[in-house]
């Protein structure tokens, strides 16, 4: 047990550079980490507040229809879906393909203990999501039903067990994806496609249970459907809801035992095959029969760009995490064209609504562009090879440019396709059509340059698995959330000022992009030289 604790401690200390800051003699490093942690905490409070408002809104509707426990069922299912979806992309990366495999496996620690420790690390990440969703829901339900103190105690203990089963199912799917993809020549592409299919599948499943808060009657009916469906496809939802809302000892006991047995059984089975799975997931084919062929040559900038593209496509988790917004945008564009008739019919009845939606098209595309940021971790992804690129006779500006070009390679075609599709489906008028291309294109540049700046402020090179950079690093969080915030806030401006707002946003984003480029040319290049 002690050894599990020690292994976990070693992993957790690496989070957000906590250990580095604790032991660093550099004051700036400590101050930076302090403010980063403070920022994360404030963001957490903000999300918790939003989650509370959401629970309150939905809980009120359910209470009015005499089904307050539907809130618990719904949120339990939602947090399970979040755990499942996020684990599919990072499960095998955290457990099996970490760079610390040789060190950790050489220690006198049982393999099952290592698995448990790694599962606890994954569990910790997922528990945060779960608590964000479940704490507000639990309080809202408790207040609405005037629940006794024992309800809160039971709920608090029970919610700690929620992530276990989805986490294990997600990890199993993650391993299966790795194994299936291993059979193909282009295993990374197959890996990404499978991750996308599973995750989009899970999301569509949850979206199909979406509801209209403005229509309480519809909410009630859909609420019943949601409960019934989740009870059927994920029986633990029913068990959890009945255990917590009714403080049912039998269900409490059964839920905890099932989760614990699932966890222990999974750790035991995986520990038996850990080495084989690791070898399978990490081994690369080597033919050792190379014959010298004619080599293609490129200019240095093109060579840097090609290297960046190869680095990008070599990492399924990197692609999955950064291109998801682009994929969702394209799916939304196609759906809008497919349901064009319904849209236009609805708009002809509500011209005000049509004007409002049309003016937001450029901003909605821009929000997805803000989510598609490859540059915010692109410097960190150099990892221990950073020295190579720094020792080469290339301008730092070209290194940045190559990274920016990768981001543009994804965002520019996506914007062009999505803007065309939305222009066809919504028929918004020439001005909005032009803006639907122009603003997101400027945002593509802004997002890419912003990502480099963020990564220069929050670099991390001593990572042991790619998920630590792509999903858990401060740069990734600031890059994605910052990018989204910097497109959502202008969207509010456009919501109020309509067409004039679009012109203001275009001017502001262009100016911000120019300022960031100037910043990169001066401070950015100096900062890059200091990285090591």
């Amino acid at each position: 047990m002690n050894k599990i604790f020690f292994v976990c401690k070693a992993y957790y200390l690496s989070f957000f550079g906590i250990n580095k800051a604790l032991h660093s003699k550099d004051k700036h490093e400590k101050i930076k980490t302090f403010f980063t942690l403070l920022g994360i905490m404030l963001l957490g409070l903000l999300i918790l507040g939003a989650s509370f408002m959401y629970s309150l809104m939905i809980g009120t509707a359910y209470r009015d229809f005499g089904r307050p426990e539907a809130l618990i069922a719904m949120m339990m299912a939602a947090s399970s879906i979040i755990c499942l979806a996020t684990t599919i992309s990072k499960g095998s990366s955290v457990i099996f393909t970490s760079r610390d495999y040789n060190i950790i496996m050489s220690l006198p620690v049982k393999t099952s203990d290592i698995i448990i420790a790694k599962l606890i690390v994954l569990y910790g990440m997922n528990l945060v999501f779960t608590l964000f969703v479940m704490i507000p829901a639990t309080i809202v339900f408790g207040v609405f039903t005037a629940a006794p103190v024992v309800y809160y105690l039971v709920a608090l203990i029970m919610m700690l067990f929620i992530p276990i089963v989805p986490l294990i199912i997600g990890t199993i799917l993650s391993i299966l994806i790795g194994i299936i993809a291993g059979h193909f020549k282009f295993k990374n592409i197959v890996n990404i496609l499978l991750m996308l299919i599973f995750t989009v599948g899970v999301m569509f499943l949850s979206f199909s249970f979406s509801f209209n808060v403005d229509n309480p009657e519809q909410l009630f009916n859909i609420g019943n459907t949601i409960i019934a469906t989740f009870y059927n496809i994920y029986p633990l939802t029913q068990m959890y809801t009945l255990a917590v809302s009714g403080v049912n000892i039998l269900f409490i006991f059964t839920f905890i035992v099932i989760s614990a047995v699932f966890g222990v059984l999974f750790s035991w089975i995986v520990s038996l095959k850990f080495k084989q799975i690791y070898t399978y997931l990490t081994s690369t084919k080597s033919t050792s029969n190379y014959k010298m062929q004619e080599l293609k040559n490129s200019r240095p900038l093109k060579a840097l760009y090609i290297r960046e593209v190869k680095r990008y496509i070599a990492s399924p988790i990197y692609i999955f995490n950064t291109a998801f917004g682009a994929v969702m945008l394209l799916i939304a564009g196609v759906i809008s064209v497919v349901s064009q008739e319904t849209l236009l019919q609805a708009f002809s009845q509500e011209p005000m609504l049509a004007n409002f939606v049309n003016v937001l098209i450029p901003m909605i595309i821009s929000i997805f562009v803000g989510m598609t940021n490859t540059t915010d971790v692109s410097i960190s992804m150099e990892g221990k090879s950073l020295g190579i690129i720094k020792s080469l006779p290339v301008r730092t500006a070209d290194i940045f440019l190559a990274k920016i070009l990768v981001n543009l390679t994804i965002n520019i075609p996506t914007v062009l396709i999505a803007a065309t599709l939305f222009s066809i489906s919504f028929k918004p008028g020439l001005f909005i059509i032009v803006m639907s291309f122009l603003i997101p294109l400027i945002y593509s540049f802004f997002t890419a340059v912003f990502g480099i700046v963020v990564n220069l402020i929050f670099p991390v090179f001593d990572w042991t698995n790619e998920a630590a950079v792509v999903k858990q690093s401060v740069a990734a969080m600031v890059g994605i959330l910052g990018g989204m915030a910097l497109s959502i806030l202008p969207t509010i401006i456009v919501g109020f000022l309509k067409e004039t707002g679009l012109i203001i946003v275009l001017a502001l984003v262009t100016l911000a992009t120019i300022l960031l480029i100037i910043l990169l040319k001066n401070w950015g290049q100096r900062k890059f030289l200091k990285l090591h």
Binding site: T284, K310, G387
Partner: protein, 237 residues
């Protein structure tokens, strides 16, 4: 070829890794750089290659300052780090081609040189494989080929013999001699004092960031062995 003038480097937190170090390496030199772990060897080498920024002093390569003209300086250097963390997502040949693109080696020359060095180091058959499948020694060999393929005027190596098999180690020493005969300068760190003694015409010893001896190998060691001199000089009082 390489002139280090009063180089000082202090890391964040106040640790002075290199303190007022000056050194001059001329074409044809094989300059060995020795010192205890943490003495400042790697910091000095990294500063010379432009990887690490420094506050005081300057470093000149063929008369150009690494601070003011980093790209021009780097065109003349090849650097091999102690731990070859190469781009594991590329195949060996892709990596070498990338390096050739960056150093603008012509199409015909690159094929010829890659084939020559890969054959000598017995890595040709593996060039089509991903670097992630390479052993430490194979990565070291690949790093070596990537360093030689653009014919640098200055070769900087950090512990180059670690991980190499005896035959490759022997080949590397021969190559180093050959390069120096052609006017190249080599500056490398090592803990293998026997190798330094036999291979280098000049030696520098660093202790706690300060240069405590430098010059012709014969002058530095006098009548003693290099190992005896090194231990005597670096032993704490």
């Amino acid at each position: 070829m390489l002139r280090i003038e009063s180089l000082s480097k202090t890391y964040k937190g106040g640790k002075r890794a290199v303190d007022n170090l000056s050194l001059h390496i001329e074409p044809g030199d094989i300059y060995g750089f020795i010192g205890h772990n943490g003495a400042g060897k790697t910091t000095t080498l990294l500063a010379c290659t432009g990887i690490l920024d420094f506050e005081q002093g300057n470093i000149y390569i063929s008369g150009k300052s690494i601070k003011d003209q980093p790209v021009e300086c780097k065109k003349e250097i090849a650097f091999i780090p102690d731990n070859p963390d190469l781009y594991e997502y590329l195949t060996g040949i892709q990596y070498l081609n990338f390096i050739c693109d960056i150093f603008e080696v012509s199409k015909s020359t690159r094929s010829e040189r890659i084939e020559k060095y890969a054959e000598v180091l017995e890595l040709l058959d593996n060039l089509g494989d991903l670097i992630s499948s390479y052993s430490h020694g194979m990565k070291q060999k690949l790093a070596l080929i990537s360093a030689l393929v653009h014919s640098p005027k200055l070769l900087i190596l950090d512990e180059p013999f670690v991980g190499l098999d005896p035959k490759s180690s022997h080949t590397l020493k021969q190559m180093m001699h050959q390069m120096c005969e052609n006017g190249c300068a080599i500056f490398f760190s090592t803990h293998v004092l026997d190798v330094a003694e036999k291979l280098c015409n000049k030696i520098a010893i660093i202790k706690n960031g300060q240069l405590i001896a430098s010059g012709e190998t014969d002058e530095v060691r006098g009548k003693l062995s290099l190992e005896e001199v090194f231990l005597e000089m670096t032993d704490d009082e």
